[in-house]
Amino acid sequence: MRSMLNCNVAIVGGGTAGLALATALRQQGVDDVVVLERDVEAGGVPRHCGHYPFGIRELKRVLKGPDYARALIEKAVAAGVDIRTGVSVTALHPNGRLSLNTVEGNVELQANRVALCTGVRESSRAQRFLSGSRPQGVLTTGALQAMVYLNGKRPFKRPVILGSELVSFSSIMTCRHGGMRPIAMVEEGPRITVRSFMRPYAALKGVPLFTSASNLRIHGHQQVEAISFANRHGVTQTIETDGVIISGQFRPEAALLHASHLEVDAGTGGPVIDQFGRATDPSYFVTGNLLRPVETSGWCWHEAVETATRLARDLRDPIGDVPFVTLKSADPVIRFVVPQRLSQTIVEGGMSQMQLRVNEPVSGHLTATTNGRTLLTEFIDSRPERRILAGMPPMHRLGSSQTVELKILRQGNRPKN
């Protein structure tokens, strides 16, 4: 560990974002880039997604998750990235100092820049406040995948899938691979969350779908025995099953942030960042799904490559602490916006778009205003769990404002320009 006591860039998390960032940094001539991965192998979530399609945009190939993870590791190693596995970061300190733990004990690491790439995880059964008993056999998709693809284990045989996000559908593939047969997909919303073109997939696989399910309840003493819910007509339906897959409702893996000096955004659950991807301590950058739940690996890869350019330039010519304007949702429908602040600097090359999500289906004009002035207006038509991209408020029009407020003016309520 002695060589790790100092490094130029320390990347926390060796999943898609961390590996892509590290590789791109090396390719841009940044020396001494170390990836710190707590697991026994780098690769992150794709390691246990034993299905297609990964890598289309970034590798121009269609790969299964584990092959994709291997390809990213190979590229990183070839580019000269130092990947350290079995290293847990236990604390983040100001100015790029990290506390690490390995089998050899604790050690401190000082980096010129730290990049946080700790990704996302699914919400647990407990976090969803599900009713019922607490038997064995209730797992998130991630836990199921790790069991099936990395450990050759099967926790149940005929599970019910809770949720209808993209990951919920990938759990069907995981089940098939592990010799399990999902017997139902249950969604609390009125329609499935994933884009509608995915819907035939469930039908194709012969998994009945129940939407508008309420009063979900898990039954069973030692192992799951059934799940019950009120269906769209308010009638209680009980499905006998030996397992429940709790899928989706991703949230950033922000444990380190919560215990640190860095500011956390209530909307995303991830760190507050500026248009360069810098956290509230300018020695910390953030990229990938830690920014917000949740995007595909391909998206995270691209985000990381762009962050690499910004980080490399910041090493050469630091932006440092500068005044900033806060970007904030002034509309309960807007769940979050990334970035959460705009640093006021002449340095260019920041993100050109903001990312937003909404809490409910909405159609209208997104407006950004400050001190009564409208900075931009864009038409959006979206649903929850869909990515929304909008132009960044123009820096030259911010003036001396402290806050830019975002609202959605519904159809028939057109904004005045």
Binding site: N101, V103, G105, A126, A143, A146, M147, P155, G178
Partner: protein, 465 residues
């Protein structure tokens, strides 16, 4: 674990139930020289009422003066602090505050302070609203007033009972799990107990069956003088950073039936809100209810507004073995050498050592096979306190398996291969905290399923044939 059918020896004492009271009882009688057998119905110890509680070591300031409960809490509390270092049990001296949120509650405070003093908890003192808010600035400004109970602690509820039973085992006691007592008879010299897989003989029986206290009395004595009325308590546990919001345990002004909803730090570093108090028939149904959990969370936020910003880590529910009586139901049946220890409703963790001593004192003059053990063996405990050194901080831990709770491979293997090895995932969780953190097993279940292969029944997952 010995098979009951092979037991030909006559034990001095058979203890029925390995909850915290049974574990403390086993320790007490073993150290007093008795040859003890503990008969536990479940596959793991602490499978009933002791599975889930608020993990507070109470002073007993609010117990009914003159009750057996108050006496047992007082002696149990004192003995805990006396022995806990030797047993390697961590404590966190948080102190507690009893808080009034309206004028009616405010008016009751003086009588409660007086009661505390009557109970010998003399450091209980009234505080002004301003003083309380100064000490605990995160509390809602709607606070009316309250008093402090400086000597309350939070402890590890599982390691505590494990330490008792492990010390009993290390000094000669035997633990039989999956050993439900189905019936039995006293032949004038000894009890012959029909256990799930055979017979166990003992000169004396102590019923510490908790939620099944009345059932065991009925099976062995033919009748019970009380009936168990299970009272469910649900809890919401918040993520670790929330624990920085408060120092003390926040107690409401109690009512006749319940201590009310408490906000407390856990020794594992979380902040919890609970319990509810719901009477029910079932002795096994510890379901959580979405509506109650939302209410608990709201209640927590009402008292501690900043709590709204923190994630929930987990939820749980426990069953308290209340009876129709207010006090503990401890009764001795001398002719048949039988003691029933029942109705240990919600203070069992604090009182267990005191209850054990109380029962041991009922037996003065009874000879055991051995002499009192002067220098008992103290087995190595599970060290899971967030406020003390953990295994991961020491080299050679073999890698961290559960990243949220920083549980190491070395710890998990030690538990799986140690004395009283867990045979279920539940048991392993209580011994190591694996999967009990904020991700609830998202990251570590896979690795854990391999690491525990061959140890747990049911296993976390089955391998394809």
């Amino acid at each position: 674990m010995p098979e009951p059918e092979t037991q030909t020896e006559v034990f001095d004492v058979a203890i029925i139930g390995a909850g915290v009271v049974g574990c403390a009882m086993a320790r007490r009688f073993t150290l007093d020289g008795a040859k003890v057998v503990v008969l536990e119905k479940a596959a793991e110890v602490l499978d009933g009422a002791s599975k889930a509680n608020s993990a507070i070591l109470h002073t007993g300031f609010d117990a009914p003066p003159g009750s057996i409960e108050q006496a047992c809490i007082a002696t149990g509390y004192a003995e805990y602090l006396e022995i806990r270092e030797g047993l390697g049990l961590p404590v966190l001296k948080t102190g507690a505050m009893v808080l009034a949120w309206d004028d009616a509650q405010l008016a009751r405070l003086p009588e409660l302070v007086e009661k505390a003093h009557l109970n010998g908890v003399l450091d209980v003192e009234m505080r002004s609203r301003e003083d309380l808010l100064k000490a605990e600035p995160a509390l809602s400004p709607h606070l009316k007033g309250g008093f402090v109970v400086p000597s309350e602690y939070v402890i590890d509820p599982w390691a505590t009972a494990h330490a008792y039973i492990l010390q009993a085992i290390a000094n000669g006691a035997e633990l039989c799990r999956n050993a439900e007592v189905l019936g039995g008879a006293y032949d004038g010299e000894k009890w012959i107990l029909d256990v799930a897989s055979g017979q166990v003989k003992a000169k004396q029986v102590i019923n510490c069956a908790g939620l099944y206290g009345d059932v065991i009395d009925e099976r062995l004595l033919g009748q019970a003088s009380f009936s168990i009325k299970p009272r469910k308590g649900q809890f919401v546990v918040f993520d670790k950073p929330a624990s920085e919001l408060v120092g003390a345990v926040m107690l409401p002004v109690p009512t006749k039936t319940t201590k009310g909803v408490v906000i407390f730090r856990t020794i594992f570093g979380n902040l919890a809100v609970g319990p509810t108090a719901e009477e029910q028939e079932s002795r096994t149904d510890a379901s959580t209810e979405a509506a109650s959990l939302h209410e608990l969370r709201a209640k927590g936020i009402e008292m501690l507004p900043a709590l709204a910003e923190f994630e929930v880590t987990t939820v749980y529910a426990g069953l308290r073995p209340a009876t129709e009586h207010q006090d503990y139901q401890i009764s001795q049946h001398e002719a048949r050498r039988y003691v029933s220890v029942s109705g240990i409703r919600s203070t069992g963790l604090s009182a267990a050592l005191g209850i054990a001593r109380h029962v041991a004192d009922l037996n003065v003059g009874v000879a055991f096979q051995g002499a009192p053990i002067k220098k008992p063996i103290c087995p190595a405990p599970d060290r899971l306190s967030n406020y003390h050194t953990r295994d991961w901080e020491n080299a050679g831990h073999g890698g961290i398996i559960c990243h949220c709770e920083l549980v190491t491979k070395r710890e998990i293997l030690a538990a799986l291969n140690g004395p009283m090895a867990p045979t279920t995932l539940q048991g392993l969780k209580r011994r190591t905290r694996a999967t009990m953190g904020r991700c609830q097993g998202f990251y570590c279940t896979g690795a854990l399923s391999s690491l525990t292969e061959g140890y747990l029944d049911p296993p976390i997952g089955e391998r394809d044939a």
